[in-house]
């Protein structure tokens, strides 16, 4: 244990302390350096030190916002699930960007790549769901003969997928049409899309040749969100007519497995073969609806369907109240512990309290640097770890009293107490640390936050109690005035 008292260790403590204070007070350092007032809003916060943004990352339950867990269903069979999940995350990211959320968190999860967790600060669940789950899965179909279809919008025919979807579109823009009244969406295909599109239009024209002639095979229909289930149900005339009606955004956004919505975007007759990969979607758009569609297409379509598993929506007032209450509870807890330690253990108690402040400063700095997203459960974990930080000190001090009773001098008793309390401190903290590891690995997100803060707390508290308290004790012991039993909280001391 002598190494604990060596100068490199002391230097390390001082460096850690200085760094922690700098990080904790980063906002104030920035204000002073730039001659800003110490309170109120100033530009440039949180400060950026060489690429480091130092501030406390608040979880949704503190900042307010929405958390949604999605399950991905209907994976395309030919692609790797990991890629599909990654692509879905990219698409969600693009869509969420339109909301202007600061630091949206979109993470993949699930043992089989079938989960995505979305955390959006300052957004209601309704907004989030509308944006993320927005339907803009653009699909093209041709029409094929089907004797089973006897009624509906196009008797004798049903739509068939042609392998051309919104994913084959490079870019979409909304412009005013040639008449200068309506709006259209101009799309340019990727090279793959352009090829398929050219082949389709050529086949269309060949189906019933001659200018001005029309037959169902000559139509290339564009749908939003048309599914195989819709096509399979085409023989039901009411169903088919409903799906063939103009797309209904409100219906699509709120659809459940049982609802039937209009999904047709446009159903033009192909006049000539279109090569070159450029096409125009017209369909009585207004400026707003044309722009929405263009944005939707550009953001890409989701390769899978999303099923909502759970939603947590926290209002901003609740979050702000929680922060206040937690801070109050933390400060109250810390002060009570400090008061108790000083009254019960006197000078050692005071030193332990100083070590506790070092501990609190270091943990807060770590939260900012790592960064740890601080949640309510996380704060509770932190407050709790203050209690554990005290434990190692209590073990040492109780042992110290015993050693003094057994007849040691105070400096010798300090040394023996630290040495003998160590195995118990080490083993008991490893047990808690193992529990934290288990929670951290298998827990749901809110539990992980707790495990992380408690686990960090255990490690730092070990350093603070063993290294910092011991060093402070050793330094104080050099002044003989402090060796008085009353100050050390012991009854009697054998004088040497």
């Amino acid at each position: 244990m002598q190494i604990v008292l060596s100068w490199p260790v002391r230097l390390f403590i001082v460096v850690v302390l200085a760094f922690s204070i700098f990080v904790d007070g980063a906002g104030y350092v920035y204000r002073i350096a730039n001659h800003y007032p110490l309170t109120g809003n100033v530009p440039g916060l949180p400060p950026n030190f060489g690429g480091w943004q130092l501030y406390v990352h608040k979880g949704l339950d503190l900042a307010g916002g929405t958390h949604i867990d999605y399950r991905l269903i209907n994976f395309p069979p030919s692609q790797s699930r990991a890629d599909v999940q990654k692509k879905t995350i990219d698409v969600i990211n693009k869509r969420v960007n339109s909301l202007g959320v600061s630091e949206p968190e979109i993470r993949g999860a699930g043992s089989n790549y079938d989960r995505i967790t979305v955390d959006l600060a300052g957004v209601t669940a309704d907004q989030a769901q509308k944006t993320i789950g927005a339907v803009s899965k653009l699909v093209y179909t041709k029409w094929v003969k089907d004797a089973a279809v006897t009624g509906g919008p196009v008797p004798g025919y049903r739509p068939a997928f042609v392998g051309l979807t919104g994913d084959d579109i490079q870019n979409a823009t909304a412009t005013i049409d040639q008449s200068g009244v309506g709006w259209v969406v101009n799309i340019s295909f990727t090279s793959r899309g352009a090829g398929i599109f050219a082949d389709l239009t050529r086949a269309n024209v060949a189906a019933c040749p001659g200018a001005g002639t029309d037959c169902p095979e000559r139509h290339l229909t564009i749908w939003l969100d048309l599914t195989q289930k819709d096509i399979d149900s085409w023989a039901d005339p009411a169903y088919a007519s409903k799906v063939y009606s103009p797309y209904d955004t409100a219906c699509l956004a709120n659809q459940t497995p049982d609802t039937v919505c209009g999904k047709k975007l446009t159903d033009p007759t192909t006049l000539t073969e279109i090569a070159g990969g450029q096409a125009v979607i017209s369909g009585g758009f207004t400026q707003a609806s044309a722009q929405d569609l263009a944005t939707g297409i550009n953001a890409g379509s989701l390769p899978v369907d999303l099923q909502v598993l759970d939603v947590i929506q926290v209002g901003s007032t609740l979050g702000a109240e929680s922060v206040k209450l937690s801070l109050a509870a933390g400060l109250l807890g810390l002060s009570i512990v400090v008061l108790f330690m000083i009254l019960y253990y006197r000078v050692p108690g005071l030193l332990a309290s100083l070590a506790l402040l070092f501990y609190a400063a270091a943990v807060l700095a770590l939260f900012k640097v790592i960064p740890v997203t601080v949640t309510l459960a996380g704060i509770t974990g932190f407050i709790l770890s203050v209690g554990m930080a005290v434990d190692a000190n209590v073990l040492i001090f109780e042992r110290f009293k015993e050693e003094v009773r057994a007849g040691r001098t105070i400096p010798a008793a300090v040394d023996a107490a630290v040495r003998r309390a160590w195995p118990a401190i080490r083993d008991s903290n490893s047990a808690t640390f193992i529990t934290c590891l288990i929670l951290g690995f298998i827990g749901p997100p809110q539990v992980k936050g707790f495990a992380l803060t408690l686990g960090l707390g255990v490690v730092i508290s070990l350093i603070s109690s063993i290294v910092v308290t011991h060093n402070l004790l050793a330094i104080v012991m050099t002044g003989s005035g402090f060796r008085r039993p009353a100050l050390m909280g012991v009854d009697r001391v054998r004088n040497v």
């Binding site: 929506q313 459960a377 509770t380 709790l384 209690g387 005290v390 109780e398 934290c436 809110q446 707790f450």
Partner: protein
Amino acid sequence: MSDIAQGKQSADITSDASPAVSPQREPRVRRLNIIGRRNLFFAISLLIIIPGMYSMVTRGFLLGIDFAGGTEFTLNFSNQPSVAQVEQAVAAETIHGQSIDGSVIQTGNGDFLIRARPMLPQEQKVVEDDLQNKLGPMVVRQVLEVGPTIAGETIQFALLAVVLASVAILFLLAIRFHNLPGGWRAGFQFGGSALAALLHDVFLLTGIFSIMGKVLNWRIGEIDSFFVVAVLTVVGFSVHDTIVVFDRIRENLRVSQRLSFEQVVNLSIMQTAARSIITSFTVVLVLVAILIAGGSTQKGLALALLIGIVSGTYSSIFNAAPLLVVWRRLQPLR
């Protein structure tokens, strides 16, 4: 390194006036015979655990939203309607012609908690707008929506975590204590006793929550994922206290060859009880602070931790070490 250090300490202690060989130096509490009255202490534990277990088996738990599944709105109306008014408005709510099966609770700070069946975010919005039309301006403070998948997973996780933590701790102790006389058998006696004390705390805590939630119908007795956090933390803390006692037993076994195993255990309990009680006391102070000043979500967590930590301290002093003595009697080392 630790072995050398311990070798040195035993030399120190035997050459010094060690506590074990100079009883006149020991405070009067040392005379308390905990091991001798172990059956009394076991009985006290069972007195609390058995009703709790009975309640768990027959009544189950009051499930929070993340275990039960469904939707929970936390709303604050500026017109301060009565509970009856809110209940009436909620009862009239339908989605696609079906009732939302809502129940209404008013919390301490005037918020209304409305529990309903699971619904999509769009449907939640409809319900919110509708309630606002009926009851006047309101603030949506929180909406929790948990589907059956997540609810099932959280329960699975809870069980898995307790089992994993228990096994990990059993082996950690077995490894740390197997270098005593008796080898691995002794190691597992220590580990097993600590595990028993730990399960004591888990059952006591869950039992009390079952009674609070289902027998007394207190909302604070609700089981949610924070409760799982509490149980697991209690597991960690309980073992904390137990290890401190066991560690002292290990140390005393090395230095006090003249004492019987029971005497060594009793002495070790006495030597560490002050520390266990003081540490728990400081943690209890912190938890009471959270209970008084914390937000409503933290209160359930704080109460669970409070019960668990008091139980953990009790079990480490009055159950774990006495159990070790009983085990040693049933299965002597040789």
